[in-house]
């Protein structure tokens, strides 16, 4: 198990210093596929580089198996990295690349040869062992980089946006491949990406980061269904946000017909609802009902996006699945009734600005 404790990293000094990571604390379980997700500059790569040892932390600890490794150089940590550009050694063959770490550790030749063979079989590249790394395709280089990082049996494998250089089709294949490798080896993977879909489909747990802080750590389903704040809700999937108020156990929305009983402390809140949960007309389970004018209809094949303008000028989107028959659910400029079902409503803390 890896425990990240109060890990902080700032670059520069004095007035010009920038905090890339601030007081990050959380554990990563053994054998977990853990993803760091966030926009560029959120601190995810900095966190990865700190775990790898490429940068010293400004403060905090990294406890692996009861030992603080935060200040060890990278070659003294049982942690290996798959780099974004793969960083294969161009003057070496595939086999020499994969065997590099074992050579650096001074293992006997026979052991290196056996491990290299096993690793290349694992990534299905046995037939390319004697090629130079520059002669390989992007997908093959990616597999070599994986085999090279797995060969010395690290405790944790770090992956820095490893799929971003691949085209769409190859990327989907590698997603499946990576998940298979992780399950086969039982290794802890820490995966960095800015692609929410990649994160949702592959991870056991995801840490959403922004501005050098963890916003939420949860399973993909929890993250989508129960976002902790407005940032997470808007970064993962699409969301409608409406200003609302809680007063004496009731949720009051200025545009809605009636207040709804909720258990939430009094005060202003942000009401979040996913577009696919908004119902045109009235919903069976009840909810908040509002009147809205249809501003625009956008056809997406599987569904239609209905852009709605509410009475107070707020906007929201409803996503309606297209039926086989019947055409559009409504027409532009119609004034219709929409329902936000009670179980689809999420109350998020209201943020300043």
């Amino acid at each position: 198990m890896l425990e990240i404790r109060n890990l902080t990293k700032s670059f520069g000094r004095g007035a010009t210093s920038v905090t890339a990571l601030s007081e990050v604390t959380f554990p990563i379980a053994e054998g977990e596929f853990f993803t760091l997700l966030g926009p560029s500059g959120c601190g995810k790569t900095t966190l990865l580089r700190l775990i790898a040892g490429f940068e010293p932390p400004s403060g905090g600890q990294l406890v692996l198996d009861g030992r603080d490794i935060a200040r060890l150089p990278p070659n003294k940590r049982p942690v290996n990295t798959v780099f974004q550009n793969y960083a294969l050694f161009p003057h070496m063959t595939v086999a020499e690349n994969v065997g590099f770490a074992l050579g650096a550790q001074g293992r006997p030749r026979s052991e290196i040869a056996a491990t290299v063979e096993r690793m290349l079989a694992l990534v299905q590249l046995g037939h390319l062992a004697h090629r130079k790394s520059g002669e390989l395709s992007g997908g093959q280089q990616q597999r070599v980089a994986l085999a090279r990082a797995l060969a010395p049996k690290p405790r944790i494998l770090l992956l820095d946006e490893p799929l971003s250089a691949l085209d769409m089709k190859l990327r989907k294949d590698m997603q499946v491949e990576l998940k298979r490798l992780q399950q086969e080896t039982g290794l802890t993977f820490i995966f960095v990406t800015h692609d929410q879909e990649e994160a949702l489909t592959m991870s056991d747990r995801i840490a959403v980061m922004n501005g050098g802080r963890i916003q939420q750590i949860a399973t993909p389903r929890e993250l989508y269904d129960q976002p902790a704040n407005r940032f997470v809700a808007s970064f993962i999937g699409e969301s409608n946000f409406l200003d609302a108020t809680c007063a004496r156990g009731r949720l009051v929305l200025s545009q809605a017909a009636g207040p709804l009983p909720v258990s939430h402390p009094d005060g202003p809140v942000t009401l979040m609802v996913r577009p696919e949960h908004v119902v045109l007309g009235s919903a069976r389970g009840g909810g908040l009902t509002l009147a809205a004018r249809v501003e625009r209809l956008v056809y997406f094949g599987t569904d239609t996006h209905v852009h709605l303008l509410l009475a107070d000028g707020a906007r929201m989107v409803a996503r309606v699945q297209n039926a086989l028959r019947g055409g559009a659910p409504c027409a532009e400029d119609d004034v219709i009734e929409v329902t936000l079902p009670t179980d689809a409503l999420r109350l998020l803390p209201k943020e300043a600005g």
């Binding site: 990278p74 050694f89 990082a149």
Partner: protein, 267 residues
Amino acid sequence: MVERGFDIRRLPGAATLAIACFVILYIPMVILVVNSLNGGQSISLWEGVSLRWYAVALQNEGFLNAAKTSLILATTAALVATVTATMAALATTRSRGFRGEGAINLILNQPLMVPEIVLAIALLIILAQIKQATGYMGLGYLVVAHSAFCIPFAYMPIRARLQGMDLTLETAAADLYASRFYTFRKVTLPLLAPAILAGFMLAFVVSLDDVVISEFLKSPGQDTLPTYLLGQLKRNLTSEIYAISSLLLLISVLIVAGSWLLTRKKT
């Protein structure tokens, strides 16, 4: 869809100018080589093709001695310059930036900018004193001087290669349990080798070719190939000098071509 930008090759006269430059550069060399094959006694009368003057040159004690001196000098100076340049290039590209880094670059490249005659005279003043004090008259003075002014020639290709090298390769090596020395030996040095060899060859040719500093600093009776040729010019001119020059040209061409092939390969 191809947008036609400014193309210098399409300027009127560009082709003519380029051809003129090549003619001026290469025709004299062709004439030199042709003349070296003249079998006659006089340099102004053509008397048929012969390797006569090559034979004369290869039996000429003075030329052979000068050639030996030049080869020893160029090899030693190029070696010293290349090792120094490699260390300097590593220091200026692979360490955290340090105070005076820019100044160091400038100082290293000084021989490229200061007129060689100035350096020669400056060295002469000091070395003459040392010669007088120690009585040592050997090749050491020339080795030191040549090593010094050859450094920038070796430094430039090595530094360029280091700057172009992907830094994540060294990071990756460290990530894969390599010590700093192991990383240098297995990753940095092999990738740098073509540039080091190219730097060495460049330094070698520059040293082999040098007249000014050698002429000023040589001890009595000492001659490098260029100073020997200069001395011969002052006496009687025979086609032997053409033969020697042609041999020198051949060596230079081989070395420069070798250096070009080496740097071209891996980029």
